[in-house]
Symmetry: C2
Subunit: 155 residues, 2 copies
């Protein structure tokens, strides 16, 4: 493929972006397969994870900010999780509308189950990779996310 007009770095970045699409698709598919064994979906597992890893109960809007998603997307998933009994809403003493989301006992157990599958999976995958490159990749993606948010290069 030709990258007409791209600088050397620009071509490299475009290649990275083009590589990220199949990566994301394959990651989502793998996530679905892993989570399906727990009766979860990838999206619900992600939200559940953020809630489980948080030090204290958070509001939906806060969870959304942590995940880089919109409030509404997380709200709908959180409602689904509540409907299936994995999370529950608790009153927020600091805010009448913005209630706090907490794992139920079932939710904690489900998260634990998922972790027990996710950890050996990540370890097995990582064995095929160069740690330095993986660290560099995570670093680049983090930097790029910031650049995107700051609208760098946009007209």
């Amino acid at each position: 493929m030709v990258y007409t007009g791209h600088s050397s770095k620009g071509a490299a970045l475009t290649k990275l972006i083009l590589a990220s699409f199949p990566f994301h698709g394959a990651l989502m598919a793998a996530g679905e397969r892993l989570t399906a064994l727990s009766g979860l979906t990838s999206a619900r597992w992600q939200v559940l994870s953020v809630i489980a890893r948080a030090e204290r109960p958070e509001t939906v809007a806060n969870i959304a900010r942590n995940m880089g998603l919109t409030r509404q997307a997380v709200q709908r998933v959180a409602n689904d999780l509540a409907a299936t009994g994995l999370v529950a809403f608790a009153p927020n003493p600091h805010h009448k509308r913005a209630v706090l989301v907490m794992l139920t006992a079932t939710g904690q157990a489900r998260f634990q189950e998922m972790s027990e599958r996710q950890v050996p999976w990540a370890n097995a995958l990582a064995d095929h990779l160069n740690k330095t490159h993986v660290d560099a990749a995570a670093c680049v993606l983090g930097e790029l996310a910031k650049l995107f948010e700051h609208r760098v290069g946009e007209p």
Copy 2:
């Protein structure tokens, strides 16, 4: 954050995966902003790009395979593109059902417009990054996509 049970490489991979979510979200948002100026959307631009860069007209199913998406997803977008006159379907001498997708003159012009915006955008972003790291990142994402597809580490 603690990565209980993870190997050193496994923890690095999990960090990469967690970094990929906000990256993907921010990339999609940037894509929407770039494409909105052409009256396109990110998904339609991606499909249009694959068609434009292909050496010869392809079928919808082929395009889907190239993109790592399902046939049906690409079919719907392709139908949308056809409805807005950016692509057209041509009979396939080798297959009665699987028609070929081609850019119209309008579609070519629209793709050209988008390229003229995308190239300086990628160049400006890439100026803030280390090319070696970007290359490594693209390489890691490509390798991971293959590992995901081969179900490595899955029970």
